[in-house]
Amino acid sequence: MSRPTIPIRPAHAPTPAFEYFSTKKDEFVGWARKFSLFPYPFVTACCAMEFMAVSSTPYDTDRFGAALPRFSPRQSDLLMVVGTLTHKQAPVLLRVYEQMCEPKWVMAFGACATSGGFYQNYAAVAGIDKIIPVDIYVPGCPPRPETVIDAIMKLQDRIAGSRHPIITGSF
């Protein structure tokens, strides 16, 4: 299923003043959201080792605001799928994704989450984007911690630059 898109229909005619105000609001909310990511580490396989490494010293994700993992999908906004997704685990992933509230982002951590890695058989799903929409893909088997940090920073850039309708569907 595809992610529902929120149609941009301004309540008023888009005057320059409204657009300016709306952009400033988006910048502010984007800044707040990008530096307070609460990851849900959906950990399955070997990439967990690099997830543990990137969460602790010296490659600290706390510097980027993404330190505190929230192990409840209701309380988190960044779903990091760390490791291979198998067909047996797929309903679990979909249920966790659906339980997360908007706004939410998905990081496919590792080659197996991105595309199935080198597991091409009856048991592994060829990439989590067959099940849920993904915002950022992190290649590597497993990715070096610096790659993960680069991915978090790219995701933060995307969050900073996107629209954040918080009051109505459009503002």
């Binding site: 058989n121 009856y122 099940i131």
Partner: protein, 157 residues
Amino acid sequence: MTAAVVDLMQQQLVPPAGEASLSHGMLVVVVPPADLLGTVRRLKSEFGFDLFLDVTAVDWPERTPRFDVVYHFYSTAHMIRVRLKTRVPEAEPMVDSLVPLYGSANFMERECHDMYGIVFRGNPDLRPILLYEGFVGHPLRKDYPKLQEQPLVPYRT
């Protein structure tokens, strides 16, 4: 000392319908399925093979009987291993379960059943363990295509 135990087993353990051989330093005993439980009982009580290592199967599709069910045991006293094999046909892939003798047999037999379809008579719980409910077929058989996926969740379009 270990060679003495191996010789003793070769003389005394193998039932009349079985064969014994050495493979890379390990004793391999082939028994018919009916003698399996009795042989394992003797292995455990008389020869001290108290640790049940593994059960798996090998699929020889051109041969009858089709499956080789392979057991490995380890003796903590003598510190050697032994391999036990039995052959079962495709039409009736049943062997006796070793759950009455070893607790660890439960999960390993479930896996063998999942992957090959070998039915273990006497195992109280042959649910799928590595595969999931609704999976049709036995993947490690040679006629199951490797790429045949059975998704539980429909893919996004």
